[in-house]
């Protein structure tokens, strides 16, 4: 299927990219939430069972997933605040700049989490 030139152009716009990232990060968080709640719920059986669960998750693959989730949470927050600001404060924005700030904020949160996890582990 051949996309019309105007459609391809609009898909390369920063606002479109931000909308897709916002949706995908929201989807990732929605899938993760029940598992997160179940994990925290293990504390009901006592601190020991919660500790055992946390020990199981203490491996590089889970840590990498956690970095992804923190980044997803941060990007969903930033893109969401951008939408609320546009809709309720009627601000005219420079889309490319604000979207870049949203992504930079998310990346910084992910990297800060990774750094802090390394500090916490050492």
């Amino acid at each position: 299927m051949k996309w019309p030139a105007s459609s391809v152009r609009s898909q390369r716009q920063p606002g479109f990219v931000a909308a897709i990232i916002h949706r995908l990060s929201g989807l990732a968080l929605t899938i993760f939430l029940p598992a997160h709640f179940l994990a925290l719920g293990t504390a009901l059986s006592g601190a020991g069972s919660f500790e055992r669960f946390m020990n199981v998750t203490d491996n590089p693959v889970i840590k990498a997933l956690e970095v992804g989730l923190v980044t997803s949470l941060a990007v969903h927050l930033a893109c969401g605040v951008r939408i609320l600001t546009i809709e309720f404060l009627s601000l005219r924005e420079r889309t490319a700049v604000t979207v870049a700030v949203c992504f930079a904020f998310a990346l910084a949160c992910g990297l800060l989490f990774l750094l802090n996890v390394q500090i916490g582990a050492s």
């Binding site: 949706r23 929201g26 504390a43 946390m54 923190v70 949470l73 927050l77 605040v81 500090i119």
Partner: protein
């Protein structure tokens, strides 16, 4: 999107903007000390402020996430109708139940 769902989505987004900011800051701070069960429970056990925050967080997320998922299912997969809506209400109830249970668990543990 249905107007009442749109309003619910935006109100919960506003609540979540504050709750997620606090949660994210807590995660980043807590990771520095090591993400162990002991450290997490030390912070949450008997802490009424954290418990209240997470109850509000869970209620808002249980409304916000299914509405967002509904838009994705409708626009990307073409899934819509009563069955989808009933499934999403059930999903919201599961999120709410598990979330409140989790908030209670780390409060009393």
């Amino acid at each position: 999107m249905n107007p009442s769902l749109f309003v619910a989505q935006r109100i919960t987004a506003f609540v979540l903007a504050f709750a997620v900011t606090i949660h994210l800051a807590t995660i980043l701070y807590a990771a520095q000390r090591g993400l162990t069960a002991g450290h997490i429970l030390q912070r949450t056990h008997g802490n009424v402020a954290f418990f209240a925050l997470y109850v509000i967080f869970v209620i808002a997320a249980s409304i916000h996430a299914p509405i967002g998922l509904r838009a994705i299912l409708r626009e990307w997969l073409g899934w819509w109708g009563r069955r989808v809506d009933v499934s999403l209400v059930a999903f919201a109830a599961v999120l709410l139940t598990l979330g409140l249970r989790a908030a209670f668990a780390v409060f009393v543990a």
